[in-house]
């Protein structure tokens, strides 16, 4: 029996190399676990039928002595990332039969490394949501409490790792869609620097915000996957050069100045257990030799308002392509234009329609200046806050979420309540900087222990600092 619960990439790699078990054994162990638990958790929309064949290929690479760290490692992939020849639906009806005609750059890179793709994971439709309740294919359940959501939008990818149904996974983060589910599911999730990872082959939601990033059970696993998928890509002109050579003092620093935006933490509606846990986490960091400083991010409180202008605007543009014409589900009407209307009516879910309507409104003439332009100006002001803060500190810490995983159905009726879940995570996407969520404790509710997360934020391209502080906090070597 392979101990999937405590497995890491390095442990699996050394077992594969030394012949303790094969990639086929490893993949079979995950398939066995999926058989047992996926029907309750519903992390996967599809478990691929060729997992064992993929694992056999990985075994051949290992035998030939050419394997890398990721060869044979089982991955789960969010349903909005394209793998050639496989369905990619973004958990939407309109793409229920869409088969990707090319590989996303991140998939191409992982394929070269010989990873094993286990399946595609559930999500909120087109990544719009914080719970997976907006999936057209049913809600994913939190492995810690099946009555609660796993978070979202990358809820399936988080639940797959937390439920031992994949060693690591990929998600996408537009306003917290990796960090919030990582926090709710008690694992590590990284939102990468804007431009650090190619988005070629990921379905666009908010193009000025979207990033792909990894989930894992340890900071080290997340770092390994990040190193494998990052890099400039000629297929995505928003990608940036690897900044490492330009960064000074990148190896030395182990003790950091950590800034805490106290004002921002008073926004209200934060669970007391979260506040208490956050303070304990800061005390722990202090004991580890890090310095804790108060900082100000005076305009951060406007992040959510900016986000809910910018995102719908970009959504309404990006989702115009789903019209049932060239691919996806077409519902036939009496005229060509009616085909558009009917296909989009039956193929798109409520939250998606809501954001398209909202985006159409804020971009319409007469309102453009008041909403979209103003939001972009405030976005610059928020960026400036962070720029100033990073002159004083190396890391900024906040709780990842205002509460623990909520019950299924609890917030779905009130979109604004759902949006408020993202209060600590959205500003990071507006600014473009990287942030990580790592497990920091539990809140006991009834007989259930629900995970709590802490978020570390670093300056542009300083993921290295995030990994160092996370390993320090989690006690990883």
């Amino acid at each position: 029996m392979i101990d999937l619960k405590n497995l890491t990439i390095k442990k699996a790699h050394s077992a594969l190399i030394s012949g303790d078990y094969t990639a086929v054994d490893l993949a079979s162990a995950y398939l066995e676990q999926i058989k047992k638990t996926n029907k309750d958790i519903h992390a996967y929309l599809e478990v691929f039928s060729d997992v064992i064949e993929q694992a056999k290929k990985a075994d051949a690479i290992i035998k030939s002595g050419k394997s890398g760290l990721l060869t044979g490692i089982p991955f789960a992939i969010k349903d909005n990332i394209l793998i050639k020849g496989r369905i990619a639906s973004s958990a939407s009806r309109i793409l229920e039969n869409y088969k990707a005609t090319y590989n996303a750059t991140v998939i191409e890179k992982l394929k070269k490394d010989g990873v094993v793709f286990i399946g595609r994971t559930n999500m909120d439709e087109f990544a719009m949501g914080s719970s997976t309740e907006n999936s057209a294919y049913g809600t994913t359940k939190n492995p810690y409490d099946l009555e609660r959501v796993p978070g979202g939008s990358s809820g399936g990818s988080a639940a797959a790792v937390a439920g031992n149904m994949a060693l690591v996974s990929l998600g996408s983060d537009t306003g917290g869609s990796i960090r919030q589910p990582a926090s709710y599911c008690g694992i590590v999730g990284l939102k990468t620097t804007y431009g650090a990872v190619s988005r070629y082959g990921v379905m666009s939601m908010g193009s000025s915000l979207d990033q792909i990033g990894p989930f894992g059970k340890s900071a080290e696993d997340v770092e390994i996957v990040f190193d494998a998928i990052k890099g400039q890509d000629k297929m995505d002109s928003t990608t940036i050069e690897d900044q490492k050579q330009n960064i000074k003092n990148q190896n030395g620093k182990q003790k950091f100045k950590i800034g805490v935006p106290r004002d921002f933490l008073k926004v209200g509606g934060i669970d007391e257990a979260i506040v208490k846990n956050f303070q304990e986490s800061l005390d722990k960091l202090k004991k580890q030799g890090h310095e804790i400083l108060d900082i100000e991010l005076p305009n951060s409180k406007y992040s959510l308002a900016v986000y809910y202008v910018v995102t719908p605007a970009e959504v309404s543009s990006n989702l115009a392509r789903y019209d049932g014409m060239r691919y996806g589900k077409r519902v036939s009407g009496s005229t060509g234009i009616e085909d558009y209307f009917l296909s989009r009516q039956s193929g798109l879910g409520r939250e998606v329609k809501r954001r398209i309507i909202l985006g159409t409104y804020v971009l319409s003439s007469g309102y453009y200046d008041a909403y979209y332009n103003k939001a972009n100006i405030v976005r610059e002001i928020i960026k400036d806050d962070y720029r100033k803060a990073f002159k004083k500190v190396d890391i900024i810490a906040t709780p990842t979420t205002a509460g623990v995983a909520f019950k299924i159905g609890e917030k779905i009726a009130d979109p604004l309540q759902m949006y408020l879940e993202d209060i600590f995570t959205v500003s990071i996407n507006l600014v473009g900087i990287p942030a990580i969520s790592i497990p920091s404790g539990f809140k006991e509710v009834g007989n259930k222990k629900l995970p709590i997360g802490i978020q570390f934020i670093a300056d542009n391209s300083r993921e290295d600092n995030l990994f160092t502080i996370s390993k320090s906090f989690l006690g990883e070597k």
Partner: protein, 94 residues
């Protein structure tokens, strides 16, 4: 306050037919979000408005190495809801 007629107009611009339920619920939902984002009006900006779209830069490359005609045709046609002789089939417009 947005009314049902405003929502209908926006839906038409966005090429979406809404159900009756959506038509009746959306004005209130969209309004509550708009009144939340209205707080942006209170921010006094000292930022150069020229920079509002962020630090944009042009990314250019030579137009070279085109994909050979037909390379992906089969896969792309297979995704089409309706096709004929490797062409996408839609209703006539005129």
């Amino acid at each position: 306050m947005l009314g049902i007629d405003d929502i209908k107009k926006l839906a038409k611009l966005a090429r979406i037919t809404l159900t009756q339920e959506e038509e009746s619920k959306l004005p209130k939902e969209v309004d509550s979000i708009l009144s939340y984002v209205a707080q942006l009006k209170e921010v006094v900006s000292s930022v150069n408005e020229e920079k509002q779209a962020g630090e944009l830069r042009n990314v250019v490359r030579e137009d070279s190495n085109p994909t050979n005609t037909g390379t992906n045709t089969k896969d792309i046609v297979a995704n089409m809801p309706d096709s004929q002789d490797d062409y996408l089939k839609v209703k006539k417009i005129l």
